[in-house]
Symmetry: C2
Subunit: 337 residues, 2 copies
């Protein structure tokens, strides 16, 4: 029940990017340890999350959440352990995950906590990945928006990514035929060997459109889209009657201001009575535990595999988002602090 | 129970348009009256339907139905009276509506009949409009895909059209605030005075985008889209969280080959967890009577108003579809034969 005497290392957003945030938009600072008021507790973060959506959080354009204010700690999910508490519901030693920011220590009154991490037999870092937002996103976006049925062909863009790989494996567990779209031979093999896709297609290779057509001889029933852009345009040409396109991310578009153009989807959606629907995981907050209990069960049994890429130290943070967009990571990127 | 002795006047599709079918793509011919085999009956068509979707039926590109073969009678809905029958379920005098084609007489074995028209107190032509495909489309597309809730703002493009005007009025009956997008002052007034929209916005006028924004101060919950194109691009900028965009038609795009470009919708759908979904009325065939019984009730009570434009004689047929796309009609266009 004592505040550690060291300082708090924080990563601040110091300028606002137009597009993808780069290292230059952040600054690492040392600040004094905060005092705890009644009803608060202190978390020592062990892992900080790095994810594509953070691009949207720092941009000024209207988005699904208010932009991170300049000069404040970068918003992020983090997982850690309660080290001091003046809050009745949180005790020292509790493992928690929440919107704790890119910093070593975070004060919370509970409102920033997403959940207590109860899977003590599994690594804490998983609460930021396959047992966190990534896994929960894949689970609800696929099942609630994608609505896959046994025998459906499910195509996943960024099929090797932390969300995509979970979506592909859950679709497979639901009896679907799964097709990964990914970049390069290493990720192709990972998709087939680790994540169990029936086929992997390389969007960087010549003849991508033809390879995709060959991979989907019966058309596409569910398209789990993390990219938008030309990859999606190619997939949309193959949708079946009543197909469901889940818009979960737009990783291939680096900037939405001005609004980029592409082939219009309206006629395709009309001719197939198909739908395209955006997914925000926040809408499923009340059902997190339902998803995580299933995901944890699959992880324990080995039927849901994951990759993590652990960067060491706060110094890795400023460039970490840009690195995601450079496509350099294999698996869910987290920072160990 | 005798075949009339006159000839059958038919409109054939004689060449295939790339885009909107014009008068030159059709030919009017006189053919011999067909003989009736057992299990068949003869319908004297009284009204032929003209609708925007017929563009898709004659084009070679893959669509939701096979293209009309060259040299055959133009596919269309028509309403008429059984004048001779060797079919146990159809008697002389029965009023029927179905896919009977642009011709004076049609032989059917029942498979081309959509329904017997039982609303004897209402004009037969309505079975091609507000009590036919148009009304049924508006009803199911709005209620099943649009899912309006009381208080929602519902925007309808081609708000004065035969589908749009029905959709707008049904939304109003469901407790929504309704906004019509239409072209020119005459249709604007029609939207407000006849079809009860709260606001009408002129897409042809300067300042359309601003007028639309003013018309939707609380954003757009349901967009019933019959146009696609720049009109839709303007509406999409105002969608609310969990908005539903119903793709019912694409009247503003004259040609989908090559695939036209426009602003990408993915990010808007994602940020708002909104959906865009195509609607094909054929998917609701088993529920036609449910819709028509409600629509007829509203028509009788005066709470669902409609406009018809009746062209006289088969000579009007060849140019009739092109005329729709020139925007010259007020109300559901039918041909009296």
């Amino acid at each position: 029940m004592s505040i550690p005497s060291e300082t708090n290392t924080q990563v601040l957003l110091t300028s606002r990017p137009n597009g993808i945030p780069q290292a230059e938009h952040f600054q690492i600072v040392e600040t004094a340890m905060p005092a705890l008021e009644s009803g608060q507790f202190l978390v020592r973060n062990e892992f900080l999350s790095v994810e594509p959506a953070m691009r949207g959080w720092v941009n000024a354009a209207a988005n699904y959440s208010d932009p991170v204010p300049l000069g404040s700690v970068m918003r992020s999910f983090a997982a850690g352990v309660v080290v001091a508490s003046r809050h009745p519901a949180y005790a020292e030693g509790d493992r928690v995950m929440g919107m704790l920011g890119w910093q070593t220590y975070a004060v919370s009154d509970g409102s920033t906590i997403r959940r207590k991490v109860l899977e003590h037999d599994l690594p804490l870092s998983l609460s930021l990945g396959v047992l966190g937002i990534n896994g929960v996103t894949a689970y609800f976006a696929l099942t609630e928006v994608g609505e896959p049925r046994p025998g459906d062909t499910v195509v996943v863009s960024t099929g090797a990514g932390s969300v995509g790989s979970a979506a592909g494996q859950i679709a497979k567990l639901m009896g679907c035929r799964t097709v990964a779209i990914t970049g390069g031979p290493v990720k192709m093999q990972m998709c087939r060997d680790e994540f169990g896709y029936d086929v992997a297609v390389d969007y960087k290779a010549a003849g991508f459109a033809e390879a995709l057509a060959l991979a989907c001889p019966d058309g596409v029933d569910v398209y789990y889209d993390n990219t938008s852009g030309p990859i999606s345009d190619a997939v949309v040409r193959h949708i079946n009657k009543r197909a469901r396109i889940v818009i979960c991310g737009t990783a291939s578009i680096s900037n939405w201001e001005p609004w980029p153009s592409g082939p219009r989807v309206e006629r395709h959606l009309l001719n197939k009575a198909a739908r395209m629907q955006g997914f925000l995981v926040w809408d499923y907050e009340h059902r997190y535990e339902e998803a995580i209990s299933k995901l944890a069960c699959w992880v324990r049994s080995g039927s849901l595999r994951y990759r993590e890429e652990i960067l060491d130290g706060m110094v890795a943070a400023p460039d970490a988002i840009a690195g995601l967009y450079r496509g350099e990571n294999f698996g869910k990127r987290v920072i160990r602090v």
